[in-house]
Symmetry: C4
Subunit: 207 residues, 4 copies
């Protein structure tokens, strides 16, 4: 099965999920308190919106990069991809939850922990997608060196450990853990690793 | 009419419908009871979200598989496809209904019955799409054997009978019927049938 | 400018608009009255959902048919298309409005009139798209006879008059006008006209 | 990295964002006051819906025009594009805010200022996308003259100054600033500039 229709469907799901995030930013209703105050107290909504948007955006860039290395899709790969998409479409839930609870005197840690847990699941989904692919070289596109590709797997494990650490931080300070997620995003925007053993220079960022 | 634009439109509808499901998972509001309790009592939302997501995901994989067997689309096929898409886009309604009523002392059976009825309609939509195609061989892609394709039709009937049975179970126990739908999903993830009489090995899962 | 990206964007808008309709079907909350009663009184939501879904579905089939006759898109055509898409994305509003007011003792006529007015605007959008195209033959695909294409324009005018009549009916009986819209849909599902003067048999349904 | 999948993803995001705008138009509930009055007082929702729809529509036409000039996408360009998409998907928030506050005795200026600020960010996103592209000629499609392309950059600056002026107007009169945004849309619908130094006549509208 060629990978093009799976890519098109995944692109659609990414595009909808990333756009639905804005529905979680509550619009103040006229007739309440002063708007300036309402907008200022909404900062957690903006911050979680931005962090989740950039995270899903990076995930899409990564998904794009992974599928450039894939020539054909088999049935297990399609269901691993579906698992990953399920976590990504679920992400508006923890985003909204963290936006509502990050300033709460109690439960902010739990909300940030749930957020981190969903990020960890995304990371596991990505790692599984890539691990399955590199161990089934018949799925790989031409010019991709399976040995070089496999050598990148430990980086995915590192990513998971970083997310696990963020879940720990969440229970100390929800705001700190949100800042940590933003930092991870910044890291992935400016860094990437090279998985191609060939000359055409494909590269892949670890999610 | 070549089938590509119909596929692209269907992919878009599947992608949006599967992503809208998350809007049915209510996010607890800060200031209510303890978050841990609120999250725990939300389990029906998560469970119905997961079952509906996986069901629509399998439907998409099936749709993909059916359209690989189709070369051109005629007017009746386009409207049968539109009927199927109408049922799929409607599925967030029964999903949300079941999530809200599965723990109710009364009416949980009716909610699960409605859920099962929509699943049955999906199954009928799929069966009709495939039945119409195999009885109009001029629509079939090259290499698809109409006789082998027709031989798969009884399996679609079996699928409908299973969904009918689930509707019966719904009125006994809503939770049991949700578990039954999850089991059917699991069956379709791991099993598929081969409809190609040719050598290129196309295969199709009954929905 | 080739028409393919305009088609892709339009397909996306159609797919999202048709899927958002379900958000207008209110899901009863557990703890209110008996579910069976709640579901029965929701019939206007289901009926308007189905009529709007089928109308947008037919519009998409028509849009598909019109763009098969278009080779390149110029700037005015792109903005006419954008106007049509604006009306289509707005359609969840009158759909929800009619679903809420069709049973109201007062104002049901106004709600049905608003619904009819938006349908009329869709019809005008479609007519303009087609009229602009047939009077700019350099935009037409090969094999499309501009004279035969122009001969279909009166049918679009007929369509607009029918919608105008439905708006009149709306103020007599909202339910009757919804039935009329369903009838028009049924007519367009089973009838189509042939606009090609050539031998490749393209055909177009008037919206 | 060829630009096609980035275009497809961007198209999806534009299509969803433009369609979600309708969710901000509140549907009156049966049982409140007379419908005619409710619909009349909703005019700010319709007006902001229309202005935002047309603005995003023009942005899409522009995005289309810019990407026709781009042959390949590099990593920084992908993240500039992602920033632009983040602003576009955020636009339902200021649209809804302005719709709710434009008639308020206090705070209408602030709401219109927020709206204008998001429009300014869109303009900056577009300017950055284009500026980055024209200063990296290796990304440009064949037949695009980098010198002619760079000569269009001052127009983007003009666009930003116009938006800045609109933010100033916002604090004088929110209604006037909405009219100004509508006027800017009208200007971009009927005017465009030519960036191609070649004979194939590509043209680009400044956003």
């Amino acid at each position: 099965m060629p990978s093009s229709r799976t890519e098109a469907f995944s692109d659609g799901v990414f595009a909808v999920a990333i756009t639905l995030l804005v529905l979680n930013v509550d619009v103040p209703r006229s007739g309440g308190g002063p708007l300036q105050h309402a907008l200022t107290t909404l900062w957690p909504s903006y911050a979680t919106y931005a962090v989740s948007f950039i995270t899903i955006g990076i995930m899409w860039v990564n998904h794009h990069a992974i599928f450039k290395c894939i020539r054909v899709v088999d049935r297990p790969l399609q269901f691993i991809n579906l698992f990953l998409l399920m976590v990504i479409t679920f992400s508006p839930f923890p985003t909204s939850l963290l936006g509502r609870y990050i300033l709460a005197s109690r439960d902010s840690g739990l909300a940030a922990g749930v957020y981190g847990f969903v990020m960890l699941l995304m990371s596991i989904g990505f790692g599984s997608l890539w691990a399955y692919t590199v161990y089934h070289p018949q799925l790989l596109a031409e010019g991709i060196d399976p040995v070089a590709a496999r050598a990148t797997l430990p980086r995915f494990t590192t990513g998971m450990i970083v997310y696990l650490a963020c879940i720990g931080i969440a229970f100390i300070s929800a705001k700190l853990s949100l800042a940590a997620f933003a930092l991870i995003d910044g890291y992935y925007i400016f860094n990437q690793i090279d998985v191609s053993g060939s000359t055409d220079g494909l590269s892949l960022e670890t999610p």
